[in-house]
């Protein structure tokens, strides 16, 4: 269980509060106008920022003292997911060992996961020699290796074209272990519709998750005005 236990965060005039519980395996879209705190919600889980009050808990344990790398979390950003000076194999290998001291078995795992995302022949390339879709696949390969129970997607695929985006979602569904919690920030209602549930973030408040289909069919006023319905 991932719990936002009366979490409050503020920075200047900006503030966000969240109070919710998310069960393993839940796929959630975080939707709302920009600047309202969608990415902040993810950053609180990832550990880039700490809550002012309350706590983000995983299986009941407060995550606050844990550094980002120690948390049960993987994150994919919109860009800068790969170090441009390292090869794809090295970038992905960091999912197993940040110091890149990989055993032969681990190196085999890296090769295997690259094969799974369709990058078997691209291991020696550097990110600059990949297309946008291939870079997204490499980032996903590292997520799969890390095997963390929570995956955060911070507009991870929003720079991709519609076809590539659909491909990535299919790949995600195909490869991600079913018990993984997925929290995905998006401003695209079509992307949100692919998730089971939606968290609306507006007016400094992250609402509790609601089922996606009925919410999008019959949006409350704040969401309706954002969606332009």
């Amino acid at each position: 269980m991932l719990t936002f236990d009366d979490v409050r965060f503020s920075y200047g005039a900006f503030s966000l509060s969240a109070n919710m519980t998310i069960a393993p395996g839940t796929r959630i879209a975080v939707l709302g106008p920009s600047g309202e705190g969608k990415s902040t919600l993810l950053a609180l889980v990832a550990g880039f920022i700490s809550p002012e009050a309350g706590a983000v808990r995983w299986q009941g344990t407060d995550l606050t003292p844990q550094r980002p790398g120690e948390r049960p979390v993987s994150i994919v950003f919109q860009d800068s997911n790969l170090f441009p000076h390292l090869t794809v194999t090295q970038n992905v290998g960091m999912g197993l060992s940040p110091s890149l001291r990989l055993s032969a078995a681990q190196a085999g795992q890296v090769a295997q996961v690259l094969d799974r995302v369709g990058l078997a022949d691209y291991g020696d390339r550097k990110p600059g020699a990949l297309s946008g879709g291939q870079r997204a696949r490499a980032a996903l390969a590292r997520v799969l290796l890390r095997e963390r129970p929570i995956l955060l997607l911070d507009e991870a695929f929003s720079a991709l074209g519609p076809a590539l985006k659909a491909e990535m979602f299919d790949l995600l569904e195909e490869t991600l272990p079913p018990e993984t919690i997925l929290l995905m920030v998006t401003h695209d209602p079509d992307e949100a519709a692919r998730m089971e549930q939606i968290v609306v973030v507006s007016d400094g408040q992250a609402d509790t998750p609601q089922d996606a289909a009925p919410l999008l069919a019959n949006p409350p006023p704040a969401l309706a005005s954002y969606l332009g319905k």
Binding site: R67, P68, G69, F77, F83, P84, H85, P98
Partner: protein, 517 residues
């Protein structure tokens, strides 16, 4: 271990060492100074001369830089980028080599004297106050020009277009664009050059001297070296630090322009009003180029024939200089990287980094040397430690330049890749190896190249501690000049130039090759 604790403890050690070498040596010097009331007439003369020559040198440098910079900013011609690159060269050019080149042009048996001799006019002299000023303008005219070209090119193109569409006259352009630009840039450029001229030692050592042209730095050296009057050396040291500190404080209130790493490509749209401006621009560029190139050209012509007749002691000195420079560079790299990483980790850390830089810039190398001598004297014979002391002092002097390059670069790396590295648990040595070092290769090797070249050409603290067994190449060259063996000195100078530029390019280019950016 807390986040970045390792880097911070490294940084703290180096910060402490720097404080010891700056404030610590200053305190050691102050302990010997026996009150400032004892300042003699000669001391006052040295103070007056230091300030006066710095004032004149800085004024001439920025005034001459204005037409050259304007010409370079608005003309495009073959060889322009070469001239721009040449303007960066004096920073790496060893001072003593440039001085020898200037002597070859403006000295008693130099080019100018030979030319005047054709008309029966007696030869000119380079030794004395005007020689010191000439050398300072040689070094700082290029710096001032670079800073001004940068400012000229930074004026938005729209301003020129508006001026054009209003058909502003020459005077109108001056008032609307050039005067505000100069008012913004000149005070900072002037201050930087003024500071450089008050702390310059090698120029005064080689061309100055005597009651009329002794700077405070030179007076410290003479008190130390010739009279072994530590009290007087210490007294003058305090004066020197006070002068530097006042200028460093002033620089807080004046925007000091920063020389950029990159080139100065691009020209502004032509906006001359009279056809003769083409000729004045051409003349400014030609004269400045001749002034900068001729001394080195003559030096090369004179030095090459004797290159293979150099005594083995010169090659020995060259070897010493090389490893001193490399050791000093290694120290600069480790220290500045630790300091920059700590500064990035700590709140207000960059302010601390800037404060350290200012502290170093406000400390005179000779005061550092004198202080170290006083501190080491009770334990050992400091002269035996001439090279380690030179390595340490040269390293400290390069740290402000290294930090100025590294701190913004590191900030940019952390902004772009910090969250990713954090989320992967990339900490400690792994972060250094897999993120910071690869991303910082270019700025780090630029800083290392500069540090190596600066140490290679340094003639400062080593002169204070020198002994016959441990000579660096600049010192050996200076001694050849003192013995009037000018041809050999020219050859040694050539070796020194090749080594200084060679080490800079080898390190700087080495870092650029294959860097994925």
């Amino acid at each position: 271990m807390a986040r970045g604790a390792l880097a911070i403890s490294f940084g703290a050690v180096f910060a402490a060492l720097i404080v010891l070498l700056t404030l610590g040596t200053l305190a050691a010097v102050a302990g010997r100074a026996e009150g400032l009331s004892q300042l003699s007439g000669d001391d006052w003369k040295a103070i007056r001369f230091t300030l006066w020559q710095a004032l004149v040198s800085a004024t001439l440098s920025v005034v001459f830089a204005i037409p050259v910079a304007r010409a370079l900013a608005r003309r495009r011609f073959p060889g322009r980028s070469l001239i721009i690159a040449l303007l960066g060269a004096p920073f790496i050019l060893p001072t003593i080599v440039a001085i020898l080149g200037l002597i070859a042009v403006f000295g008693q048996s130099g080019l100018v004297s030979a030319f005047l001799g054709l008309f029966g006019i007696p030869p000119v002299q380079i030794y004395g106050a005007h020689g010191v000023i000439l050398a300072h303008v040689f070094f700082n005219l290029p710096l001032a020009t670079r800073l001004l070209v940068q400012a000229w090119l930074a004026v938005p193109a729209e301003q020129h277009r508006i001026a054009e569409s209003l058909s502003l006259s020459r005077a109108g352009m001056w008032r609307a664009i050039e005067l505000p630009l100069l008012r913004e840039t000149l005070p900072g450029a002037f201050l930087v050059i003024f500071l450089l001229c008050t702390t310059s030692f090698a120029v005064a050592l080689a061309l100055g001297g005597g009651p009329r042209a002794t700077t405070v730095e030179l007076a410290i050296y003479e008190a130390f070296r010739f009279d072994f009057d530590l009290g007087r050396a210490a007294r003058l040291g305090l004066i020197q630090v006070a002068i530097c500190a006042v200028i460093a404080l002033l620089s807080i209130f004046v925007t000091v322009p920063q020389a950029r790493m990159g080139g100065l490509d691009g020209t502004i749209e032509r906006w001359d009003r009279h056809s003769w401006e083409k000729w004045t621009d051409g003349a400014a560029i030609t004269l400045a180029s001749l002034f900068l190139i001729t001394p080195l050209a003559i030096l090369t012509a004179r030095g090459v024939p004797f290159l293979f007749e150099l005594p083995s002691s010169i090659w020995q000195a060259a070897f010493t200089s090389l490893w001193v420079a490399l050791a000093s560079t290694l120290l600069v790299v480790v220290a500045s990287l630790s300091l920059a990483i700590s500064a990035q980790r700590l709140r207000r850390g960059e302010g601390l980094g800037d404060a350290l830089s200012t502290l170093i810039l406000a400390t005179s190398p000779l005061v550092m040397g004198t202080g170290l001598f006083i501190m080491l004297f009770p334990f050992t014979n400091p002269v035996g430690l001439a090279l380690p002391v030179t390595i340490a002092v040269n390293a400290v002097l390069s740290i402000p330049f290294a930090l100025r390059v590294l701190m913004p670069a590191l900030r940019a790396v952390e902004e772009a890749y910090g969250p990713l590295a954090d989320s992967l648990g990339l900490t400690g040595w792994a972060r250094l190896r897999w993120l910071l070092l690869p991303r910082l290769r270019r700025p780090l090797s630029f800083a290392a190249g500069l540090a190596a070249a600066l140490s290679m050409g340094d003639l400062g603290v080593i002169a204070l501690f020198s002994n016959p067994d441990q000579q660096t190449l600049p010192l050996a060259m200076y001694q050849l000049m003192g013995a009037y063996r000018l041809e050999q000195a020219a050859s040694a100078g050539l070796v020194l130039v090749v080594l200084s530029f060679g080490i800079f390019f080898a390190i700087d280019r080495g870092g650029r090759a294959d860097a994925d950016l």
